[in-house]
Structure formats: structure tokens, C-alpha cells
Amino acid sequence: MKRRDFIALALALSSSVAMPAFAEDAAQPYKGAHLAVLMEGHPTTDGIQALLPEFTKATGIEVDLEVVPESDITAKMLLEFSSGSGRYDVVQNNIIYIPGFVQAGYIVPLDDLAAKLPDNYDKADFVPGYLNTSIVDGKLYGLPVYGESTFLMYRKDLFEEYGLTPPKTFTEVAEAAKTIKEKSNGEIAGITMRGAQGIQNVYVWAGWLWGYGGQFITEDGKSALGSDEAAASLDAYARVLRDYGPVGVANFGWEENRVLFQQGKAGMTMDATVNGAFNEDPSISSVVGKVGYTPVPVETDKLKGGSSSLAVHSLYIAEASQQKEAAWLFASWATAKEQQIKSFGIAPNSGVTSQAALNSEEFNKRYGAFKDAMLASIARGNPQYLPTVEAANEIINNAGIAVSKALAGSASAKDALAEANAANDAALSR
């Protein structure tokens, strides 16, 4: 145990055991502070919420945790940020928003706070790939709450039965999907993926885009969705879902997709690594032990970036917050290894950002089935997987429309992307 951890532990203990009043005040310099925190509806949030009483007990800081769906959280915090209301002290969001938030002056660097109040903060314990995504111009802006990559999940039992091997290219994915659908007489969908318009379908299609050698934005800041690679990737994505996907896939979000696969109604899916935790949970899944995990395929050697995502969601401290030190205490506590390890028992959570948690026995016991594939995907994860510019939200929205149109067959992949390309160029130049 490191020295400062020992001190922290001693302080925490001392405040929970009856101690003279002055000692309590000394241990709780921020007693009475009242923090407002905005977080995503996600298993890690459930864990933090359940552990909150311990934080309040140790520090005397009250925390109001507001939980909203990921799809609404950006609008929510932007409205507050832009009005300068100071309503939220700590917010959580995907790291793709950091550049925009930093440029707008909405969030503050954390280095000084970390130096002043280092008790919960162990820089070396964070997965380096995760922490690095929260650093802009050498300054730390966020503490990673959860991180994940994407991989291909396939039914080992079906693959064996039908003589298939795990696909390495998207062409092989389509072939395997065809085989599964045909050999199961249409009972089992060849593949299922998120198709719902917006961040849902873009998050998954982006793997195809990069895997075909495409990208969202060129090095000189222009939209790159008009490329042949992009069109080929969207065409392939849409075709495999249309021909071998489940009914209703055009409205599938993360949840619908996950549940369908978990119920054994699809042969493959491509999604976040956290889905592994759900597949291997016997209380909700009927495919425990039957799922194989392998990195997201690639179609070419000439990649502009990896086809596996690197999605990191971090906690930020708002510029308008009047109690940044208490806010830092909360953020560093919520992301510390102790809490991450405890959270395993609360909700399915394979997205831990602490190396200690990642290497814990508990993690291996629960998520051993896909741990290696997950680490491999993270290692080659592409931090530029989704665009990380100011107008990211609008660009994702436009791309989502194109994906949705191609999937529905109401426009060809090339035409749909040409439209999105023009809209994205307009957004980038605005």
C-alpha cells in the first residue's frame, strides 16, 4: 500500500470511528459542501451511486447525482454551461467532446487540484491509453470513469456446427451471416447490429468505415465521407443487415441489439466490449459460455486508423463550479481503484479504468471469457474512432442519417454519404 493511500484510509477510518470533534473537522475540510453531478445511465454510474453514502460519510460532502440517458446528456450540460448557471459541478461525457469544451472554456484543467488534493488520485493506476485521451496540450481535463473498445462477438457453437471460422474481414462476416441464416432456416439472424439513426448506428458503422480504410475527417479538416472507401463500407454494412439481419434492426439501439444476441437469436454482433459482461451473466443471458470474442475485422491493410473503437467517458469539472476542490475530491474518489473494484458486485461493469481493478481476481472470474479479446481491442483501439472536433455531435447526426438511409434502402450508400459529406463540410466551416 502506498503511503498516501494509507493516509487516506486512516483518515477515512478516523472519521467513521467516533473521534473528537476537531479531528473530524480536520479530516473533513469540505464538510457541508453540496455537489451537483451529472452522469450517464450506465452500469458504472449505478456502482458510484450505490457507494455514494461512503463518500459522504468520509468527507461530509453531499452529492446530488442526476442520471440521464447518454443520448441526452450533451444537450443537457451544454445548455447549463452556455448559460453559465454553475448548476453542475461535475459532469460526465465521452472524451470526444473535450476539445470543444476546452475551447469554449466550459471545463477546467485538473493538474493543480491533483497536486493539492492527491489522496484519491493515483495517476499510475489508470490504464494509460485511457488517461491519455483526457489530456489536451499537456493538461489533464478529465478522469476516466469507464473505457471500452469494440469487438466482434460470435456464437462458437453455431460456428462449429456450420463449419465456420471467426471472420477476419468484413467479406467473411457477410459470408458467415449468410451461412447462419440459411442453415438455421431463417430462425437465427446471421448478424445483429445497432441500426437506430444517430450515435447508435454511427458508433457501430464507424468500425466498418475505418476497417475499409475510410475516415470521418481528413487531416486538413474537411469531411471525408464522400470517399469510395466510406461508400463501400456503408454499402457492406447495410447489405449484411438487410439480407441477414433481424426484423426491426433499423430501430435497434444498444439495448435491443444486446438483448437479441443474449437471447440466442443472432449468430454474430459487433458492439462495445461491455456487452461481454452481459453475455456472460447467467441471470440474463442464455448464451453464457457459447460466445467467442475477436477483434473488429478489417477489409484492407491501408488503414487510416484502427477499426476497433476506443471510447472513454470521463468526469470533468465545470468552470462555473463554485466548489472545485470538493468537486475534485468527488471525481477522484469515484474513479479510484477501491470504488472500481467494489463496483463489480453492483452492476455488470467490464469498463473499469483502473489497472488494479482490471487485474483483480474478481474481474478474471467474471469476465475472463472475453478479457484477452477486450485488452487486445483496447490496445489497438482508435481514439479518433468518432470525430473529436467541436461540431462532433452534428457530424455524427448527419452520418447517422446517411447510415439510416442506406440501411432502409431509400438511398444508395454513395448518395446518402454525399449528402452527409456536404452537410458535414458546412458544419465544419461554420
Binding site: 451544454l78 452556455s82 437506430a196 439513426q197 444517430g198 430501430n251 455531435n393 439510416s404 432502409a408
Partner: protein, 289 residues
Amino acid sequence: MHDTTRYFYRPVVLLFGAISAVLTLYVVWLTLHNISLLRPGRESFIGLDNYLRLLTDGRAINALGRTVLFTVAATAAELVIGLAISLLVDRDFRGKRIVRAILLVPIVMTPVVVGLTWRFLLNPTNGMMNYALSIVGLGPVDWLGDPNVALFSLLLADIWQWTPFVVLLAMASLESLPEDPQNAARVDGAREWQVLWHITLPALKRALLVVALIRAIDAVKAFDIFYIMTRGGPALSTETLNLYGYISAFTNFDISYSLTIAMVLTILTNVALLLLYNLAFRAPKQGQA
């Protein structure tokens, strides 16, 4: 002495006038800038650029087309079905009061719940609609996932909720009609459909026009079931202008453009209403005078 009554209404009416004037000016001022939540402190005056952008924005023009389609289709369907049902129940029978009460149920139901209900019924794999179709050997239909169908699925939910409103209003009007002209026509040997076409419907015309106007205004503004059931997807097939305005503000954070859309929608709605209103009421009134 007599005039103290005006102090009861003038302050409130003036306040309402003032608030709307201030808000309108504020909105116009906002639409002449490029305010984005992502670019605080970097907004500038851009004149009519937002309005020009809207004119050439294919997505907006398609959304306008969809708004018109949805409004016309919803209003027409609700009017026709509602009228048919009201003619059916326009007679004395046991339980009429109960039928009337039941018809009230969809009207008072929370629209968000209506959206959820239909989303549930229209679920492609586990929904009742596809189950019912499968019994007669049809389907499955991807109600909310197929861009050629989704707008009609929303229409279905809107028709379910608001046709009863037309029925109840038409029932009330039918009951207040004098029966003599109808009976006289029947005595003269007119067939039922002739009585309906030449006597009953013309007498109902005014009431039906009022209902149509109310339904049309609401259909233009429809938001709840769209937000719950499709959020404009798939492939934009259910994005109305109202929804596009919402998305511009809360997904793209483009406040000025969003208000430009809202402004244009308001102007178009008012112009359309004025035209319809004059068409519907001015002419017959002059005829009567």
C-alpha cells in the same frame, strides 16, 4: 362607474401583448445571429444568412413536405372516420352514455403514454399488431423501422387518439340539428344517402370546419408521439419541421438556426390558417348576410 370592469382584463391582455412582443423581437434578434451553444462568446451578426440557409436546406424542405402530408392526412382521416362513427352512433340505444365516456379515454390519455403504447403494440418481433397480422397470414411489418411505413404508423397513433374528439364534437352537433328537414326529405322519398349528402352534411359543415382547424393546428405542432416513437428516424422519414427545429437546437446546438425554423413554421402556419379561415367562413357569411 360602469367602466371599472375594464381593469379586470386590460392589465392581463396588455401584459400578454407585451410579453409576446418582447419575445418576438428577441427571437428575431436571435435569428439574425449565429448563436451556437458550442461557440460561446463567438457569436456575430449575420443578417439574413439563417433564412437563406433554410431556403436551400433540402432537409428542411423535405421536413416541411412531411409536415404538410402528416397534417393533411391526419386531419382528413380523423374527420372522415370520426364523421362516419358519429353517424353510426347518432341514434338512441342502451349504453350510449357509456360509449360516450369510453370515447373520452384516448383524448385525456397522456400523449407520451399514447406514444409508448403504440410503440409497444407496433414492436416488430413481440408486438400485438404483427401477431394479429400473423394470425391472418400476413406480415411481419417493420412498423417503425421501414421508412415507407413509419410515418403511417405515427399517423395511426394520432388517429387513434384524436378521432374520438371529432366523434364527440360531431355527435353534439348532430344532436342539436332539427330533425324536421331530414324527415320531410324522407317523406318526399329521398334515400338515406341523399338525406345525408344534401341535408345533414351541409348543416354540419361549420362545426366540421372548426374541428378540422383545431386538428390541423395540433397536427402541425405534433411532437410527443414523434419523439417517443421514432425521433424523426428511420432515415429522416418521420422528421417534421417542428422536430427538425428541436433537433437543430438540442442535437446540433444551433440555437439561431433552430429559431429560424420555428419562426418560418409559425409564419407558414399563420398564413395557411388565415387562408383556410377566410375560405371557410368569410364566403358563407357574406352569402348569409
